[in-house]
Symmetry: C2
Subunit: 206 residues, 2 copies
DNA sequence: TGTGATTGGATAGTGATACTTCCCAATATT
DNA sequence: AATATTGGGAAGTATCACTATCCAATCACA
């Protein structure tokens, strides 16, 4: 398959395929001469994944590059790899001052109330802190009751996810990292739809 | 309070306050002369809300303007207002062809399986369809089992939210629209943290 | 009452981002 | 032989969220 066929197959403009190639989001094809290379199914799949991460998840090119690197050659530590992957997901947050004794008070309190691990080096902790601070600044603070209600359900979802973790390490990393990212838009859409469903006055769950 | 005090109070650069004023994200102050106006607490609150929507939720200026318009003067129909608000939340989706008989097959199937209303005019339906299509394109399709698992928990969260709906209509719209948007980053952060918690091998919920 | 700071208002500039266009000489294809 | 396509690179474009600069009017203070 030549590059134009690859573009046609994925529905992307040729210039965009070249751009992703240049940016390292797509591995080069096998060069058959100075001006020719062949591409295969792995390139098609990768391009579709890149589009999903950029278009649906809303990542930037840099972040996609970072995520793909993790998926392509993960360490042997799933926990650490997951942590690194999350640090590349929006919203971006700054590292706290090294001297700050309690950089994420809201997040720490929330996690303690939920009985979950509190690891201030984990990027999602800073993301939670920023999100909670934003609700306060906007005048709609999350109550701890609501945090518990949300956290419990999301923990159940996470358990569901992790119960289905593939045994093979490489597949496990791919599943965890991509599943975290790709399913987030689904979650937001489902919540919006659930709100609509409840607002419409229907509540059919037994 | 003059404009420079407003900027100082909110921690925003003066130029940014002027920019939001120009873009209609902040209502003008009361002019006291040709070159002076006074601002009050409502301006402070509005600026903090704007920052939360842009910085934390990740909306663009246009979308914030649209959301604020809805909050400021909502119709009397909460359901319709919520629908309009969601249509301004990312990811943006195109309207389907008018001739398309079944524009959102994945979303329709998912909602039917969940027993929720399926209203193709509701923007979140298109968002769900796009998100599900992206998981398929990326090679990690959502199973219907997973959709049910997620959907059930998110419906519970929505019920929790709507049970706390303020009685007064204006407050109800504000609560629903802003709550939908502002709590989403919290939800994503909590899910990421729950994944981490499960991955760390701790599972303390009874 | 003068002097420097501040204001509303407007225009233009900036830096980042994600493409997109254009061009090239080498090579395929017909 | 004529035409099209390739890999590769450089430059251009569009959008976006600010940010900087300028202006004349007006304020605040000495």
């Amino acid at each position: 398959m030549r590059i134009s066929a690859l573009a046609a197959e994925t529905g992307l403009p040729l210039a965009t395929v070249k751009y992703y190639l240049r940016e390292g989001l797509l591995h080069p094809g096998v060069a058959t001469s100075a001006t020719q290379a062949t591409y295969d199914e792995t390139h098609v799949r990768r391009l579709l994944l890149v589009r999903a991460l950029i278009g649906s998840v809303g990542l930037g090119v840099q972040q996609v590059r970072a995520i793909l690197r993790l998926v392509d050659d993960p360490g042997d530590d799933l926990y650490a790899t997951l942590g690194r992957a999350v640090s590349h997901l929006p919203p971006a947050t700054e590292r706290p001052d090294a001297g700050d004794l309690d950089p994420f008070p809201r997040a720490r309190a929330a996690l303690e109330a939920l009985g979950q691990v509190y690891d201030p080096d984990y990027a999602a902790v800073a993301q939670l802190e920023a999100a909670l601070a934003a609700t306060e600044a906007a005048g709609m603070p999350m109550t701890s009751d609501r945090l518990l209600a949300y956290g419990r359900r999301l923990h159940e979802i996470a358990e569901y996810d992790l119960e289905r973790l593939p045994g093979e390490p490489h597949a496990a990393v791919e599943y965890t990292v991509l599943g975290t990212a790709l399913y987030e838009p689904v979650i937001l859409a489902l919540r919006r739809l659930a709100h609509q469903d409840v607002a419409a006055g229907r509540d059919l769950r037994g």
